[in-house]
Amino acid sequence: MIYLDHAATTPMRPGVWEAMRPYADDVFGNSSGVHEVSRRAKNALEEARERIAMAIGAGPREIVFTSGGTESDNLAIKGASLSSIPRRGVVTVATEHEAVLETTDFLRRLGVPTSVVGVDREGQVDLPSLVDTVDANTAVVSVMYLNNETGVIQDIAGIASAIEEHEPDVLIHSDAVQAFSSAEIEVDDLGVDLLTITAHKFGGPKGAGLLYVREGTPLEPVLHGGGQELGRRSGTHDVASAVGLATAMEAALADRSRFRSQVAQIRDDFEKRVLTAVPDAVVNTPETPRSSHHLNVRFPGVRNETLLMRLDRAGVAASAGSACQSGASEVSHVLEAMGLSPGEARESVRFSFGWNSTADEAMDAATIVIDLIEELR
C-alpha cells in the first residue's frame, strides 16, 4: 500500500510504542495515588509534560492533557465561552474542523453570540472582516493554523496581533492539529492563548492530545470530576499516551526541517507529475501559503468517490472531505466555503504525505493516479 492520507493519521514514529509500553504494563499505577507504582507513573507523566512544554515554548503548567484534537477544541472554545469572564461570544472561520464548527454551533444553540467568518477562493480568512466581527462580547476567536483538507496556512501571529490591537481581552485559540510536523510552533511567537495539538498526526498514538492554556487564561472545564490537570480536565491520566505524545513530539521536532524540505519535495514532484499528465487538473489552493505535505486537487469530470475506490483497489490510500458515520464521503465544507460548487467539491481529492513517505512510492502513486484518471474519463 502507498499511504497518501497522512493528514488523516500517520504511523507511529520509531521508538514511540516502546516508550509507551511500560506505562500500559508494569507501571500501571494511577498517577494520583500515594504508593510507589503510582509515583512512578506520576513522575513519567510530569516528565512528559515538561518535554512537551519545552517543544512548544510553553511552561509545564500550561499543558492540559486531553484525549485529542476534538476534545482540545471543545475545551478551548466551550471553556473560554463559559468561563467566569462575562464575555461569551465565539468568532471562528468557515473552513475550521467540525470539532470547532460544531462546538460553536452548540454554543449558539445555548444562546451564545457566534459568528463564522468566510474565506477567499484560496482559503485565506479575510482579516479585516474577522477583526470587525470581534467585539466587546467576544470571548474567543478560533482560527486553524494549517487546514486539514487543503494545507492552507493562516497567519496566526498576524491575526492574533490584529485582534489584540482591536480587542485586547479576547482569547485567541488555534487548532494546530495539522501543523506540528512541518510548521514552527512557539506559542509566544504565535501569540495564542489556547492551542490544540494531537499526537497521532505527527507519529504519536491516537487518543492523546493536549490543549496549551496560557498562564492566567480563564477556562471552565468540559469534563468535571476529580480535578486532575489543575481542575481543567478531570479523569485518570493516560500516562502511556502522555509519554507517547512527548516522545513523538521530540522526534517530530528533531525531524522538522528535514520534513519541511524533503516531504515538500516529494509532494511537489508528485503534484508536478500529475498536473503535467492531467493538464486540466486544478490545485484548489494554487497561490496561497500551503503546508509541505498537503495537495488538494480537482480532476474535472471524475467523481472523487469513484477515484478513491479505484485508488484503494490499486493500493493507493487517499481521501476527500470527511466521512460520515456510514462511511460515505460527504461534500467538503472547506471547499464549499472557498467557493467551489458541490459538484466541484465532489471532484476533489486530498493527497497528504508524511514522515515516512518516499520519492519512489510517490512517483508510483502518481502513475497510478494518472492512469486511473485517463480510464475514468
Binding site: R303, R310, R313, C324, Q325, S326
Partner: protein, 349 residues
Amino acid sequence: MRALVAMSGGVDSSVAAALMREAGHDVLGVTLKLWSGPNGEAPTAGCCTVSDAEDARRVAAQLDIPYYVLDYTDEFRDGVVHRFVRDYGSGRTPNPCIECNRTVKFDRLLNGLADFDSEVLVTGHHARNRHVDGSWRLHRGEDRAKDQSYVLSMLTQAELSRIRLPVGELTKTAVRSIAAEMGLRTADKPESMDICFVGKRDYRGFLRDAAPEVFEPGPLVASDGTELGSHDGIVGFTVGQRRGLGVALGEPRFVVRIDSGSSTVVLGRRDELAVAAVGLDQLTWTEGAPFSGQVMAQYRAHGEPVPATLHDDRLLFAEPQEAVAPGQTVAFYDGDRVLGGGLISETFV
C-alpha cells in the same frame, strides 16, 4: 468475472455476495447511502440506515471482499423523493422503491460498472435472470412468496445482460440457512418493509414535514357531485382508501377518484372502484420486442396477477379491478416470465 454487489445490509444481498465469492468471482461490495434527514442524520428505519451499512461492511469483511459506501443522496433526493412528493401532489400513487431501482440503483451502478472496474451488477432480489438462446429472460423468483420480479419489470436486455440475481434461484429459507451456515451476522435479520425515507410513520406525516406546500385544501364530493365536506390536501388520499376520510356516511365509502386540477377527492361505493382498463406510459420490454395480446398483469408489489389484454399502451382487464391508480407500475407476465412493465397514466371505468 468482476462483480459489483449492491449490499443493503440485509440477508439476501449478503448471501448474493457470498455466492458470487464462492463461485470464484472477483467481488466488490458497495452500499448506497441514499437518504439522510434534514440535518444529515442517517435514517433509523428502512433499507439505508447506518446499522445496515455496518452490517454490510462486516459481512464484506467476513467474506474478505473490498467494500465501500457510495453517496447517492443527491440523486435519490432529486430522482425519488421529489418525484414521490410531486406524484402525491398530483393525485398519483407512486412506488418510490421502483423509482429508486430505475433512477438510482440500476441506472447509476450499471452506468458506473466500468468505473468500478466491474463487469456485472449483482443484487439480492428474488427473481431469476437466465441466459437462454442468446437472450436474457427475467422470471419470478424460486420463492414465489418472496418474488420481487415486479420491481424489476422495467429492466431491458441492455441491463439484464449485466445483472446477476443469484438468490432468485433459492427460497428465502435456503438463503437464511446459507447465511447461518456461513455465520453471516445478517442470517436472522428481519426484512425491511418501510419506505426508507418515510420510516415507521405514515407517509402523510412525511409529506406534511417535507412538503407542506403540496397540502392544498379542497372539497370531498360524492360520485354524483354532492359535496360531503372538505379535506386539507389530496396528498392525504390514495385511490381505494377507506379509512380516515374525515366524513361519516353510514355505509362504507372509498376514494374512487382524485382530481388534482380541482383538488377534489371523489368518494363512492366499493363497486365504483372498479377499473376496466388502464392507459400506460414508460412501457419497457424485457426481451426487446413490444408485446400485444393476453398477459397476466400485476399492478401491486405483493398483488396477485390478473388476466388482461395488452393493446399498444392500453391494458384491458378481463375482470374489472379495484384500487388501480395512476402512478402505479404494472408488470406483465407470461407464466413466471416477465414480459415488461409500464406506469399507469390513466384509468377507465
